[in-house]
Symmetry: C2
Subunit: 335 residues, 2 copies
């Protein structure tokens, strides 16, 4: 038996150790150092304090602390064009020899000739077709490898950095802070789930089973007698707009208490989240920083933010002014 | 600063406290007391020891410790008929006044008249139609309430107990044991996800986001200006047979290392799980206990186990003889 005082001390140490291991930092440190002291940071700290205050009026039990994040433009950069579209176009080039008909068929022809205007003129549905075609024909594990190989060599045209370097440092801190406070963090994105799952765990700490996205077909079959899943070139589900609450209902089965988006594609997710009962928080990244990142909202094709920006004050959504509220944008370059 | 010896002691205590809080029991206690000392218990203990042995040849990192369980006949009883079918039939009776055409239309007519033979003669597709119709027309939260209200009053015809009492005590212990060893436990069942999510968390400790099942439609809409999800009477996905690996790929995005089933509907899940590389374990509940539960395998319509039973020895799947290997079947009745 340990003497009582020693036991007591040990317990205190244990609690401190556990707390430190959960938050990864000493007590009292700023959990969001890349956020300036502005209204967004205050809203986040206040909200987390309220929902975690045992016995408080806004206390939320741990299992219900569900936070959903859009990906493109919310967790990582999306300009000048969605990174997954860049990946798809690079795949078209890589697979062109195996698909000779692409040379004469839009949008493939435009992609292969670098005439993106002609390619995009084929319409959104045709572009989704390109995404489905370039993401299929292999197992999820094989596709993981293709995406990771691409990430090793592909570089952003302006920042000259790997695309996975262009995640937002303030959001990495927020994800860790929420998890340290008992939240389960999910991606709910229009991006194809398999594309994100290839790297989201390593970059955001969000595992595949918490990454909800658009879906291509999936088929169980035998290849040379070996059972496997085959990714099929059909678009099964678009996890965007009203599809986001549906994706949340299907995969998570709980209404989030916090949702973070950046475009009108997140409107319904924000609406669904913040009209539930009890404490709720909706947030929008507003891209206002042409110097360090990009400045766009109502007048863009990539990440258009119009209706949700108009609605934000009425709905109580916190608009995060990137230029003012984020001390840093991207993590430092790895040496 | 604490003296070094004290710190060391404190750390030891901390580790012990954390370990105890994870397993919920003192070190050394039998984690599977309702399992007799037979081949199945040995296989489970050996497997968990191997995959958790840091530095060992079969070590599996925590995030990859995914275990999937069928529900009907694997985690809870499924005879004389799937409990969800009983629920659906009870719902048909409860909703009959609102659907006057059901009185003359099979399979509804048979259900209302207690002529189940006539109802079942309408075929499997018609029965799935009944499930879809009786599970829809409301929000997931409203449906949760309907299921929970039903569970309060419905009683199993033979055991005269609430259906959620008829879960398998050995499996409750196994789920807890796996989780204490870093596994994430998932349900992967032919049952409709919403039906299971209403009670699986409370009964098994498996949260909604880890409950994968068949799916009816889901639609985001406004009802009296209030945004909500509406459950639709369409069957979107059947999570059974080859659908199980597909459900796993979609929702979990990792190949499980342990799968537990009891019927041919689990064949592909067992096959997909155990043909992956590294340590794998497939298990089958074999219902051999007519006295304490039921005895059936090849010759039954509910939970038919034929092909998977034949294949088990070759595939290395552990067949759990319920009569021999389970000390108790159901948890004790609540006073």
């Amino acid at each position: 038996m340990l003497p009582r005082r020693l036991l007591c001390l040990a317990a205190l140490v244990a609690v401190t150790l556990v707390a430190a291991s959960l938050t990864g930092q000493p007590a009292g440190a700023d959990p969001l150092p890349s956020w300036n002291d502005g209204p967004a940071k205050k809203a986040l700290l206040d909200f987390v304090a309220r929902v975690t205050k045992q016995g408080g009026p806004d206390f939320v039990p741990v299992p219900e602390r569900v936070a959903t994040f859009d990906n493109d433009g919310t967790l990582w950069c999306e300009h000048p064009v969605y990174f997954e579209v860049v990946f798809s176009f690079d795949r078209v080039k890589a697979l062109a020899d195996k698909n000779p008909d692409w040379k004469t068929k839009q949008p493939y022809k435009g992609i292969l000739e670098g005439d993106y205007k002609a390619a995009l003129a084929a319409g959104e549905k045709a572009i989704f077709g390109v995404i489905a075609a370039t993401h299929a024909g292999m197992t999820p594990t094989e596709f993981d490898g293709v995406v990771r190989d691409w990430l090793k060599v592909a570089r952003h045209p302006r920042f000259k950095r790997p695309y996975t370097d262009l995640v937002y440092q303030p959001q990495l801190e927020l994800l860790a802070y929420l998890r340290a406070n008992g939240f389960k963090t999910f991606i709910v994105s229009g991006g194809e789930a398999g594309f994100m799952r290839a790297w989201a765990d390593g970059v955001y700490g969000i595992p595949p089973e918490q990454t909800v996205g658009s879906r291509i077909g999936l088929k169980y079959e035998l290849r040379d007698g070996k059972p496997l899943l085959e990714r099929m070139p059909t678009l099964d589900f678009i996890d965007d707009g009203p599809g986001k609450p549906v994706g949340i209902g299907r995969f998570i089965g709980r209404r989030p208490i916090l949702a973070f988006g950046n475009s009108d594609g997140d409107y319904e997710m924000l609406q669904y989240t913040t009209t539930g009962t009890g404490p709720r928080l909706g947030l929008i990244v507003h891209h206002t920083d042409a110097e360090r990142e990009y400045a766009y909202d109502r007048d863009t094709h990539v990440g258009k933010l119009d209706k949700a920006l108009t609605e934000a004050p009425k709905a109580g959504w916190v608009v995060v002014d990137m230029k003012k509220e984020w001390k840093t944008i991207f993590p430092p370059e790895k040496p």
